[in-house]
């Protein structure tokens, strides 16, 4: 029997990094405050002590430089693991990510493929205001060449992070910070990986397919319980990998239920829900019994004082589910 431990998401991510650093001596962790301090959210705590300041180091406050340099490190054969303190601060590095990192393999005809993984906490619900709350997954999913992965709990966080670190592509690994500490679970302490590109069936159901990722998955679970109380049977799917995504699992589910609702925190227009409903309707058109629904943040900047109204709540999701089922 493999040993297990009760870990929250932060601990699970730290445990994954520790395993990976141990296995791959080319792995280097860098970012603002990740070394001596162990990261603002403490994900890298203890790594510098264990692996030394050459492999785990603090950078200047310079996101474009951090990511650009990590790409160069990857070109030179290292395996950089970057922390961007909040996803909202990734934008100074957007050029390096979109124009360099994502396209290197393609533009060099496969000669260069820097293996850079960028971890960054994202999402709202912590009263962070405009610049400590955003969900930028769609920007990156819109950039071929990048993988975008979002775990929803400690087991997924560890397995997907290790899966992403084994992968030869650049990865934007978005960590739902609202549930960093609250999502706890008994998970294996040994090395294990979860496959990328595979959605996870969280709960089987017959009436509607509900798709979410990250912290919203937990809000959806509340909504599923409420719906159950009203006699509706919801099938819940954790997308996990945003790009590339597991269309097959969604289509199979919607073929059965005939209905789908997608939930995300980011604004609706051009959010990742738009991609999912477009692709699913094309594949499952003959089985649809209601319009596919998106339940999302509004098309506004992320608000400070009105965030409880901005973020999809269990009640808002429930209303959407019922309306779609009763359509």
């Amino acid at each position: 029997m493999a040993e297990t431990g009760s870990l929250n998401m932060i601990q699970a991510l730290g445990n994954a990094l520790d395993h990976y650093m141990e296995r791959d001596e080319m792995a280097v962790v860098l970012g603002e405050d990740v070394g001596a301090f162990g990261g603002v959210f403490r994900v890298t705590a203890g790594l510098q002590e264990k692996y030394g300041a050459e492999r785990v180091f603090d950078t200047p406050l310079a996101e474009a430089g951090i990511v650009g340099m990590a790409i160069g490190m990857g070109l030179g054969g290292l395996r950089p693991i970057v922390e961007i303190q909040f996803a909202d601060f990734i934008f100074p590095a957007f050029d390096q990510i979109v124009n360099e990192l994502a396209k290197y393999r393609y533009r060099s005809g496969g000669q260069y493929a820097p293996r850079v993984l960028i971890r960054t906490p994202y999402g709202g619900g912590i009263r962070g205001g405009h610049y400590h709350s955003q969900s930028p997954e769609a920007y990156f999913a819109h950039t071929p060449g990048l993988r975008v992965v979002v775990p929803s709990g400690p087991y997924e966080a560890k397995g997907l992070l290790l899966g992403a670190l084994e992968c030869a592509d650049p990865v934007i690994f978005l960590e739902p910070k609202r549930i960093y500490r609250s999502a706890k679970g008994e998970i294996p302490l040994d090395y294990y990986t979860l496959p990328l590109e595979r959605a996870r069936l969280v709960k089987k159901g017959e009436d509607i397919t509900l798709v979410a990722w990250g912290a919203m998955l937990h809000t959806c679970q509340e909504a599923v319980a409420l719906a159950e109380g009203e006699g509706y049977d919801v099938e819940l799917i954790d997308l996990q990998s945003i790009a590339p995504y597991d269309l097959h699992t969604l289509v199979r589910s919607v073929t059965k239920t005939g209905r789908m609702a997608v939930v995300h925190e980011a604004p609706m227009t051009c959010g990742f829900g738009a991609e999912l409903v477009a692709a699913v309707q094309a594949e499952a058109f003959d089985h649809l019994r209601a319009p596919l629904l998106r339940i999302t943040g509004f098309d506004t900047p992320f608000p400070y004082s009105l965030e409880d109204h901005y973020l999809p709540s269990a009640e808002r999701i429930l209303r959407g589910l019922v309306e779609t089922i009763e359509y």
Binding site: F37, L61, F89, P92, P301, Y304
Partner: protein
Amino acid sequence: MDLTREELLEAYRTLRMIRAFEEKLNELVTAGKMGGFLHLYIGEEAVATGVCSHLGVRDWVASTHRGHGHCIAKGVDIRAMMAELFGRATGTSRGKGGSMHIADVQQGMLGANGIVGAGIPLATGAALSAKLKGTGGVAVAFFGDGATNQGQFHESLNMAANWKLPVVYVVENNGYGEFTPTDFVVPVKDIATRAGSYAMRSEIADGMDFFDVYEKAGEAIRRARAGEGPTLLECKTYRFAGHFVGDPLAYRAKEEAEDWIQNRDPLARFEGQVLEAALVEADDLRRIDHDVEEELAAAVVDAEAAPPPGLEELLTDVYARGES
């Protein structure tokens, strides 16, 4: 010294208001009455006060995540600030911004800013607008030592020097960027030396001494106004509190902080200087202390009583027509 008694009292009032405002916020957040991420300016008051004493409403200021002091010194109404911090409809941004987004067009406050380094080019552009429009205004960018590692800092200094823009870059070097000591990540001892790459004038001030900041900022602003180009003014300072409210301060030595707090407090320093030179009476200062406390207490009462923004505000201010 060219300051009148009234100007000295006004400067003291600003120093005291910033200190008391921040202490009040600390109290409110710790008591769970206020949410949001707060970065306090305690210890650095002399910088904002010394610089902004030279500015008027036609002048622009771009601020940072640690922006309350800049806002107060630039003349933003503290009642509206307090309401904003509480997320109320009567706040500077109608409760939609919070601590890191206090902005006030009347006072030329371009805004606090949650993105480190982002205010630097904004001030640079505002300076260019003042120059092209011939308003006689100058722009001041406040930012930390950490921000000088961002590309935006270097890009801005190059443009400002090249075009002789009426801008003053005030770097508040408090020795830390979040939890990382500045000398871990910056090879130069003085940030001011970075101006050399852009053939820009630079100056170093004791950021704990109002009078030193006042004098050096005064010269930099005078030059900017006169079309003699930008200055990088480095103010050596220290934040007495943590990076944010709730920071356990595990990364810096207690003795180091104690030394700054006991021996270099900018308010105590100011008081010692003006009393020793018999420029004002201790009673004048105590009266200001009292007034500031009353004003703040009233601001808190008003803010707490004010309503949050209505639900319709969720969709306003996104596009010009008021709806998204």
